[in-house]
């Protein structure tokens, strides 16, 4: 037995001796990166709700990341699920049919706030939905990947009849092998002033950001049936009339190319204000 105890202690010692490890390299992000002509942008779809007390903190965390990445980080916040029903004193019901569809399509998170980054199921993650502490890492990971598609938005907005004409120009930078590739277009509105539950109670003048108002495409995207070989150029047109009670000055158009089916990865996203 003494021999075995000595062996036990020896193994313990070996463990302690092998404590030295080579640490990973930390390279703080440059907020103004250079790089090639076309850069990869990242789409963050945030689950939120007016009854979610912790969601304002999530929104602030996303704003901090937008301050780092600028226009390369595109956020769409959809009000859906358990925390989304409006209060009796709410001015608006920020839920949309497309938001509900997206909740079902992407799946419910374990808790709010949560977000999906580029609709990607990251290694070791059991689900698409990520908690607030996970966003920076996966955004940084995704933004470093070279884009396969270039997305450009051209819009024309008529303030008189509130009609919006949008052309989404796609250029395939790397042949896409996936059989089901789709284009989604969303309309979001910033700074909608309405009630939100916060840590200090209900705040009537809370400014909701990046609120999904509607999808100009199908909620799960319009299939791209054209050739997706390198160099291919595709243009897709959309028209939409912005409802009178939405503030067009605060509206943005978000277009993203993504894979359809079980794998939902977003390949590229671009965003433009309705009124520049």
């Amino acid at each position: 037995m003494k021999k075995l105890i000595i062996l036990f202690l020896a193994v313990c010692s070996l463990w302690l001796l092998s404590c030295e490890e080579i640490p990973p390299v930390i390279n703080p992000i440059d907020p103004n990166p250079g790089g090639g002509e076309v850069q990869r942008n990242v789409l963050v779809e945030e689950y939120t709700g007016v009854r979610c007390v912790n969601c304002p903190a999530g929104s602030e965390a996303l704003q901090a990341l937008i301050n780092i990445y600028g226009e390369r980080l595109v956020v769409v916040s959809f009000h859906a699920g358990f925390f989304a029903p409006p209060y009796s004193e709410s001015k608006f019901d920020l839920r949309t049919a497309d938001g509900d569809n997206l909740l079902n399509f992407l799946g419910s998170p374990l808790g709010y706030p949560a977000a999906v980054v580029n609709r990607k199921l990251f290694d070791s993650e059991p689900r698409l939905q990520l908690g607030q502490g996970q966003w920076p890492g996966y955004i940084a990971q995704e933004i470093a990947i070279a884009p396969k598609v270039k997305v450009e938005l051209q819009r024309n907005y008529n303030d008189a009849n509130r009609q919006l004409n949008l052309t989404v120009n796609l250029e395939i930078l790397e042949t896409l092998d996936a059989t089901d590739v789709r284009l989604s277009v969303a309309l979001t509105e910033d700074d909608i002033e309405d009630v939100q539950l916060t840590p200090t109670g209900k705040q009537a003048d809370y400014k909701h950001k990046h609120v999904l108002r509607d999808m100009l495409s199908n909620f799960d995207g319009n299939p791209l049936t054209e050739s997706l070989s390198v160099g291919a150029k595709i243009a897709k047109n959309f028209t939409y009339t912005i409802p009178a009670d939405w503030n067009a000055d605060k509206c943005k158009l978000v277009a993203f190319v993504h894979i359809g089916g079980d794998k939902k990865d977003v390949l590229q996203v671009a965003q433009v204000k309705v009124i520049q």
Partner: protein, 543 residues
């Protein structure tokens, strides 16, 4: 996991070859079926089950087979639109949830598959299952044990932690030695049961890459060099001397990235002690625990109750009555200083007394939880018995339920239970409870959901039938109680009706349940569950 199915025909074949052995097979079945009835008023709405799925269920079928010195375990798990993993979501999957083989060859024990085990009280390592919260932290790997002496054993294990039907990628390995020795003569002497354990968790590359990418976004002052390897050590001992038993465990964890909202890297420690005295109808247990930065997960990104490598013992009474169990103190891994005292006294065969006091603060001396629980029981022959008491609680809802800005919930909860036996088979049990909550002065309303009344009547006809009817009534609505369309607080009834039927080792239940939002705990691990409205069915069987 499908190749494991090949084991079954192999077992059958081998069984034929060694038919002279004495095989033993046993098993158990546990099934839950929930039918969801939308009730927006109480918040039972806006989940996939209430909106469109209408049904959700889970089942576990466990088979254990022993022969030729081997133990085999095989378990089939099924989840259909289940809300157990995520109370506001839906989870569907099915397959082999566990397989396990164990063989003892002289002094060497070999185990492989999904292993449940722990070191000491689990502070540095515990692989376990808590089905009510769908925690299944089995270690998928290999374990070797060796009997150094009749009372001394050493074991080593390595593997990865189970994650539903998959595994996490981080590697866990551990070493544990424990034994038993007596000082003095074997009858009246002192006995010691010491142990020592080491655990190592090595982060996988993907987890580290994600962690590094997160750190890259941090301000310079918050950046650190993350460690792949975290080591935890635990030294523990149980000393028994006559009626006194004293358990002491000290654990230390090396620097490890932990998620506190932002990710930091700090060492952690736990000091836990429990001393108990039991003699002549008197039982006293005193416990103390100090915890600092002892979150230990397979990866720092793991959320909620996912990926725990260890288990920290809870330090508050586990209450069973409906209202006294409404507020529970979940273990705080980042910082907690907790004390608990429990005194039980059996005056004679008719009278029993119990007092339990617990006090939990964080390391800055902010009160997290305080409970004073008293209970007196009296039994009259075999005809009837009565039990009553009162509980006082002070519960930091802001910390335990992540509801920033709300005050501590203070409650006074008297309770009573009366059991009357009509004859040898028929009995009636009645429970009555009332919970009075303090005032939230910021909104001039009662705290949380306010005050409650609860009543229960249970009629049983042994050995088969039990009928239960209960109601929980929000007699004085509070800050978080539901409101009507005009914003007025509602006083809502939450009724429940159950029928249980037991036939030998089979048990069936059918329940109509309307249940308020609350914290559900299993073994000190807790989570906030939304309200429930619907019908529940269960079938449980052992064979």
């Amino acid at each position: 996991m499908k190749p494991i199915l090949c084991i079954i025909p192999i077992l059958l074949l081998v069984n034929q070859l060694f038919a002279q052995n004495n095989p033993q097979i046993s098993g158990s079945l546990e099934t839950n079926a929930n039918f969801f009835i939308r009730d927006s008023t109480i918040g039972a709405a806006n989940t996939p089950q209430y909106d469109r799925q209408l049904y959700g269920g889970e089942a576990w079928l466990n088979l254990a087979y022993s022969n030729w010195g081997f133990d085999f375990i095989l378990r089939f798990d099924l989840f259909n639109n289940s809300n157990l993993l995520n109370p506001t979501g839906s989870y569907s999957d099915e397959g082999i949830g566990r397989w396990f083989i164990n063989k003892k060859i002289n002094k060497l024990g070999i185990s492989a598959g999904y292993i449940y085990d722990q070191i000491g009280s689990g502070i540095i390592f515990r692989a376990y299952e808590e089905r009510p919260l769908l925690i299944d932290n089995a270690l998928y790997g290999l374990r070797l044990s060796y009997d150094l002496a009749p009372d001394w054993q050493i074991k080593a294990f390595t593997g990865r932690q189970k994650q539903q039907f998959d595994t996490y990628n981080s590697i866990i390995k551990g070493l544990n030695i424990e034994g038993f020795l007596t000082l003095g003569d074997s009858t009246g002497g002192v006995a010691l049961a010491p142990g020592f354990g080491i655990l190592n968790r090595t982060l996988d590359d993907n987890s580290m890459n994600s962690l590094v990418a997160t750190l890259n976004t941090y301000p310079k002052d918050d950046i650190f060099e993350p460690k792949y390897n975290a080591y935890a050590f635990s030294l523990y001992n149980t000393l028994t001397a006559g009626p006194v038993s004293w358990y002491l465990e000290a654990a230390y964890k090396t620097k490890d990235p932990i998620n506190t909202g932002i990710i930091i890297q700090e060492p952690g420690s736990v000091l836990y002690s429990s001393i108990s005295y039991a003699k002549s109808g008197l039982g006293i247990t005193l416990e103390a625990k100090r915890t600092e930065n002892f979150t230990f997960r397979t990866r720092p990104q793991a959320q909620a109750n996912q990926g725990f490598v260890n288990f920290l013992p809870p330090m508050a009474r586990v209450n069973t009555y409906r209202l006294p169990s409404r507020y529970n103190a979940a273990t705080q891994e980042l910082g907690e200083l907790a004390f608990q005292a429990d005194i039980r006294y059996l005056y004679n065969k008719d009278w029993t007394f119990n007092i339990n006091v617990s006090n939990i603060t964080n390391l800055d001396d902010e009160l997290l939880y305080r409970e004073i629980y008293t209970e007196i029981g009296y039994k009259y022959k075999r005809e009837w018995s009565i039990l009553g008491g009162v509980q006082f609680q002070n519960y930091n809802q802001e910390v335990y339920e992540f509801k920033p800005g709300v005050p501590n919930v203070q409650t006074v909860t008297p309770f009573a239970e009366f059991l009357y036996k009509f004859d040898r088979t028929k009995a009636l049990r009645i429970e009555a409870q009332a919970m009075f909550t303090g005032e939230d002065k910021s909104v001039e309303l009662r705290q949380d959901y306010g005050s409650w009344l609860f009543g229960l009547a249970e009629f049983s006809i042994a050995p088969h039938w039990t009928f239960t009817a209960s109601d929980m009534y929000n007699v004085k609505a509070g800050r978080n109680s539901p409101v009507n369309e005009n914003g007025e607080k509602l006083n809502i009834h939450y009724p429940r009706f159950d029928i249980y039927y037991t036939y030998r080792s089979n048990r069936f239940s059918l329940s109509y349940v309307k249940q308020v939002e609350g914290v559900v705990c299993a073994g000190g691990i807790c989570r906030l569950e939304p309200a429930f409205s619907g019908v529940k069915m269960t079938v449980n069987s052992t064979f």
